[in-house]
Symmetry: C3
Subunit: 659 residues, 3 copies
């Protein structure tokens, strides 16, 4: 009987079908030596499993699973729907997606079929069902991955007739009558008015209405969500192990919607030293979606390479720190893409565990070290969870809205939130959950909601109001609560609910790329804003006021702290500098009772608590010196060292500290 | 009886049809308070006026006009042809323009119909006639605007079958026989030769002949001119008030041709502090087209924003100075786009007078100040005109030719003329007319003609020769008189007529981006040219000679002053530096008897003269300190101050000085 | 009887058909005065020779040839197939090429027909045969040029149905069975697997397999090669003088394949002072292809200009040095494009010998000087050849492979080889042949093979091994011998044959854009690599070892010198700095017995030897001071001066030194 490996899993993407048979035993033996205990297979191998329509042959992959299992390596099976065989296009040419430029995609890459195409759908579901029937009872299969990195082709997805028809049908369902849509989007403007849903164009070849584009983008993403859910429904009929789909942070996908019918969150990232904190942002989000710990299904051991390498060798320890980050932040699997670099086709120079030649890549020693560490800390990691009492909002609807009608040119939603809010928080040692509009609020004392353009999203507006009244401390703005769910503006106020909630009165907005606008804290210290300013009539409680720029705006409040019920609302009218953000952070942590540890340098502080006790995982991610001061003595499970007081970390150090 | 407001008009673009009915009274009351006395309406409201084909309903806009009139606010009516309703495409799919990429434009933006399409034309003219019949007798309607910012889609316009057919028909009319065209364009080259007009392609998908491209570009613009003229013809059957069309400085449109069947010149601009002098250039041009003062039909109060803002809050006073500039330079209306920011659809963050929310934007105080100033100076402004005795050529044909075959990469016609010639002139206090090829010449003593590639344009070659012989001082070059009207080169000389007019002999041209070419004035002072050099055999009267670069060009003349009849021709072989331009300016002003006032800083000096007396309007436009020395004492009508001698201006100061 | 002019030829491209008849006598008289002795004509004049299908009229060009001949000017005749007349498209619309974007090219430019189209082919071959019959016996015609600068439209050529069909047919011939292709390209990956050759797409609209793209690119080039060969076959039936085709260094064309059925290599270049050494690279290559000296069929006298000029006047002497370079390096013709700037159509501002106006351009004095020099050195130049004993590889297959799957982003094959290898060599006075994969090796003592991705090319792998064993010194790498001919990687080793040849063992690769990797020579001197590193297990003979970057790579060898048979292999794992390249150069020249002259500055040292004696041509090409030390006294044939010892050159000096 197969013995499921200890968690956290250390895995690889493995494509034995692309190699001569004689390589398999050597590869698997080497995996075992290195400490790899999980392999993800079959995700692109549709043709190998169904070489001709309806002729299925799973013998090869049974053999692969058996060989892996024999080495104690567990298997994650991928459904191969990202790469349908050429014969499907031959049978049904309409399966191919159609680009925004009107040209039909060609066979030869990935995800070239339309998720809304009925033939593609039928053939996809059939092979998924066959796979499920074949492997449902294999104990070595510990999980499933549906498709691969599913998202839309091009910037705006597929424009085939099926997509256009389904889009119009969706609008009909949502708005009921065409005039209700005309009114919601103010299509009187420019005489855009439609007389029938059938007349609504897919948004290309014109300066289109942002509300139409937003709806289209969400529709495209939802098409993929539904395709994944249809696969999940079939898998769930047969398999007991967790089912997920591996995703990447692109295109404003709604991960909550995507994973609500799945058992597990799977995630791929290829961050590099310069932006390693950005994948931590995602891990802090993924953790909130499911009770089941997430899996980091893909990351590189050393560098990416599609056909050409654009990266550099990483500093020593990077591979190790990068492998630990998802685990530290609540995942229980880290898997490398890929085991062995392809010898032909695409991605011929992508970093891997071993090279095409069969020889180790230079990072193998770090991979081994990770394997040992996962083992040493296994009990503590599986018996504890990360449960912060602060959170930061990041919503799919806002993401889409920023894509369709960002207010300030150059303000991309994700990097702005990451750089201006998330990064300063984590540098102060604050561990936030990153939460979307659907997350429950009651476990948090402190929530940041920057750039959440619309709160008209899963009842967020009312829920935030109640949460504040119940005692929460809410840092809100800039550019939050400024649009309806459709992306339209309010006609009698600038914000949807902030005035009525706080009693403050909004006065003016202004953009400023040239540092014309000046501001200062109550005590006279200069305050540095950035590019976009929302200004309020100032009361005595204004924390920061405008001191220059134009006589009409001088004296207006840029940051205000308003009591609301048992809680507080901090109205933030601009992006603060890191120094000013620190001052705000200290203020709101104090107001909310959220503790800030003593941290120096770039270190992710990951407090963990659970049946296995209490502790901290620390990961230095900036390739520099860092320090954390412990409240009480702790033991580093990786080295056995007993530590207390101020602990010094070297570049890419990882410590698993148990109290 | 409606009392037409006092001039200059201060107006707004107003879209009440996009708002709930209850907003209209509030909006109009606020307009009146602020001092707005004109509103432009209906320009995009085709669907509101003709919701179904042939079903017209003007009751709503009668109500709007009546409410505005009741508040003393005059109305400019726009014909809505830039935004035909969706039902027109349903009836006649061929109305949609076809892009250079072969794809048909989609409903949802603006100007997506082809100006050459007969169905679009018929439906357009029908609604224009209906509107004219409805509103011709309404005393509150003081003017009409045809369409909106009409110009070609994309870079090279519409490639639909109608356009291609009309283009070939135009060529047949112009060249009579196909061989005459083959010869004019030298289509022997590359075996391009056509056997029939039907074989001539619309210029895309090849490295096309620049003469073909030029003809196509002019054809595309003329298609819009004709469409506007057809609308004007109908309006003129019914209405007595002035009819115009609002334009923007793009695409080489021939404004003289466009406005020759119109009563008034209308103009939109969205310049910013960095290039505010560029709209002054256009005002100096617009003034020369019609006896009727032009209207600045659109400008922003504070910033542009399509969906995203790319600009900054303007320094205090900018809104005021920007509003005054068109008036100072000869217009009698300044109108803001728009009254109130849209709440849905496009341009959700565009600057306006009031915000979507119904609250003032921060520039309202400046708008009010403008209203007061227009009132205070009304009598003087309406009783005087700007009539310069110097001019600078800027022709539509040259513009198109530079687009099709600019000689020097990077030399865009408009900015080069504005930066190298117009701006230094205005900084010395010289007020020029900017004139096109059709302008009468006799009122000028001094004319600059830089980069006028062809003088084979409305008899300009012969008229300039006569004007010089009659005593004019002509600064000509570089790149002037170097092409025929078709854009071909002369086969036995470099310039068309400059050698025969002046007796000088052209020797060489050379490009130079690397400062290899050196030159000096007769007295040894270094002369700084720029990138392109035309060199002549030098006589004793050469003002500037080449002193280095290549032995073949050394000693050649770069600037020469040649007596011709009673006048002078200054041959200018390159773009001079601002210092050298100053020396040239002083020289030719002295030769021509054109007075140069004493000015420091960036101030538009706008001398005015007429039945209401004599005076100057001064507008500081560089956001700095400036000064002007008056010859005689004058009174500032805005403040009542009596001023004499050297007057100091602060950033964005505006003075209306009456002698 | 026509007397063939003395060599080297000094020629021009001449288009009398684009001018009034009366210009021809004047033009030819001026050519003769200046010293032009060759004219290339008719290359675009298909319509003039066949104005209607099947109606041929060569009388005009007989007249042109006769007039030129009468002036002693020889003629090179161009076949006009780059510019078919419009009537061909009328008869057969399918002749037009189809771009990668799916749009059919339009008449109006050049090379808009598909080289694989049977109708285009038939009409092309017919006019070529007619021309051949007409002019075969004319003694003034001294050579033929087929087509003009033939290469693919766009980046990836023509996608018309003919091309797609021929491509599939080519694959069938090459791989015999579809599964053999599937296996060679590993099309199991991504389920790309094809069941039939008819299913293989032309590579667009997907993230395509690099092996497919490579095959397509080579196929496109081969289509042009075959089209040229079909023309050559016809010409060879009639004409005795040499036949060639003028090419430019683009798109990875295989010049050896192209010229194998031609008699002469023709070449166009438009290099400028900044990259003049790059055309020398090509001349060093062209010389190796045929025993017949090559012709430089096009270069500019002063500057390029399509419609706009992007360049500058050149320093004095540049025209002369540029004209001498091809002669110095083994050509026997230098021809200017063009005689007289076009007066209409394209390229209206291109540099020429004389201007459109009929007047001299400023470079005429330099052209005259070149004519005198060619005459003065004629006997020596025609009686000697350039025969180096060192060579550098530059192969068409590698070029295509780098285009399809370059390993390091930003490493373009041609400029990297030119800048990092060729230029340092020539600055040390080394004169290499540049050789492709088909060149014979036995005349060389020293060969550099950088970035030759595949040696599986014309048996190069085995031939290099034998050549080394026989005593050659081979500098190999980086990125050499790393792919099969299809572009796939080896599955059990990194290099194809380097390990087995040298006994060294490859360890790791790593990219590095951030100077993390450090290295040093055995004696401790720092070694500076660049971006890509191939590292070997180090023996005592490692010349350069890695000293930092990651513990796994430290101590590995980056440069090693391995004895192999009677020869040596220098394994080079990165791009060395110029200083390190110097050290390598000195080392391998010493090992191989290749002499390095004493040179300072940028001077091409061109040793010549033959029946006319021995000597050197020196061309300063960097526009600076330079010096060369002679071993023995020599006479400069251009000035008659007797020189010895250290000779100083001024910018763009040319010396033809006979021992």
């Amino acid at each position: 009987m197969f013995q499921t490996p200890e968690k956290p899993y250390l895995g690889v993407a493995y494509y034995p079908e692309d190699w001569p048979d004689e390589e398999m035993d050597k590869d698997i033996a080497r995996m075992k030596e290195i400490g790899v205990n999980t392999a993800r297979i079959a995700e692109f191998a549709w043709h190998r499993m169904e070489p001709h329509p309806g002729e299925f042959d799973f013998s090869y992959f049974h053999q692969v699973v058996d060989k892996l299992a024999a080495a104690g390596i567990a298997v994650v099976l991928g459904t191969p729907t990202a790469t349908p065989p050429r014969w499907l296009e031959r049978l049904y040419p309409d399966v191919m997606a159609k680009g925004e430029n009107g040209r039909v995609f060609s066979h030869g890459g990935r995800r070239h079929c339309c998720s809304n195409n009925p033939h593609y759908d039928a053939y996809s579901l059939r092979i998924v069902e066959k796979m499920a029937q074949e492997f449902a009872d294999d104990p070595a299969v510990i999980g499933w991955q549906i498709d691969n990195e599913i998202y839309s082709v091009g910037k705006n997805g597929c424009f085939c007739p099926n997509c256009q028809g389904k889009f119009r049908e969706r609008l009909r369902k949502k708005y009921k009558t065409i005039d209700s849509l005309n009114q919601a989007w103010n299509l009187n403007l420019f005489s855009q008015w439609y007389d029938d849903f059938s007349e609504i164009p897919a948004p290309r070849d014109a300066w289109h209405n942002p509300h139409l584009i937003q709806e289209w983008k969400i529709f495209q993403n939802d098409s993929h969500v539904e395709f994944v859910h249809r696969q999940a429904e079939i898998l769930h009929k047969y398999v007991k192990v967790p089912v997920g789909t591996d995703t990447m942070p692109v295109n404003g996908m709604d991960y909550r919607k995507l994973t609500e019918k799945l058992d597990i969150v799977q995630f791929n990232h290829y961050n590099v030293p310069e932006n390693l904190y950005c994948c931590a942002f995602w891990f802090d989000y993924l953790r909130t979606l499911k009770e089941h710990p997430f899996w980091n299904t893909e990351t590189a051991t050393c560098w990416n390479g599609s056909t050409a390498i654009t990266q550099s060798i990483k500093p020593e320890g990077y591979c190790r720190a990068n492998s630990w980050l998802p685990i530290a932040l609540g995942g229980d699997a880290n898997m490398y893409w890929l085991w062995r670099t392809h010898w032909a086709g695409h991605e011929l120079v992508h970093g891997a565990v071993i090279d095409s030649s069969g020889r180790d890549m230079h990072t193998v020693s770090e991979v081994k070290d990770v394997a040992h560490g996962f083992h040493a800390a296994s009990r503590f990691l599986t018996g504890t969870r990360v449960r912060p009492d602060a959170a930061i909002h990041f919503t799919s609807l806002s993401w889409n809205m920023h894509e369709c009608q960002k207010v300030v040119e150059g303000w991309e939603y994700m990097p702005t939130v990451q750089d201006t809010f998330y990064r300063p928080m984590t540098r102060r040692g604050l561990r936030p959950d990153v939460i979307d509009s659907g997350a429950a609020l009651d476990s948090y004392k402190l929530i940041f909601s920057p750039m959440v353009m619309s709160l008209d999203d899963r009842d967020l507006s009312a829920r935030m109001a109640q949460w504040v009244k119940d005692g929460g401390v809410w840092v809100v703005g800039p550019l939050t609560d400024v649009r309806s769910a459709d992306g339209t503006r309010y006609r009698d106020r600038f914000h949807g609910m902030l005035e009525s909630l706080t009693g403050a009165r909004w006065a003016y907005n202004a953009p400023d790329r040239e540092s014309r606008i000046q501001a200062a804290w109550q005590d006279g210290e200069a305050f540095q804003g950035n590019t976009w300013y929302e200004m309020w009539d100032a009361d005595d409680d204004a924390l920061v006021k405008v001191t220059g720029g134009h006589s009409a705006i001088e004296g207006k409040a840029l940051v205000s702290l308003k009591p609301v019920g048992k809680g507080w609302v901090l109205l933030l009218g601009t992006l603060p500098s890191e120094k000013d953000m620190d001052r705000i952070l200290r203020l709101v942590c104090e107001k909310s009772g959220v503790a800030l540890p003593q941290v120096e340098g770039d270190v992710m502080v990951c407090p963990r608590r659970g049946e296995a006790g209490e502790g901290l995982v620390l990961v230095e991610y900036g390739c520099g010196e860092a320090a954390v001061t412990l409240d009480a003595p702790m033991t580093d499970l990786l080295t056995g060292r007993r530590l207390q007081g101020k602990i010094h970390l070297k570049p890419y150090d990882v410590l698993v500290l148990q109290a």
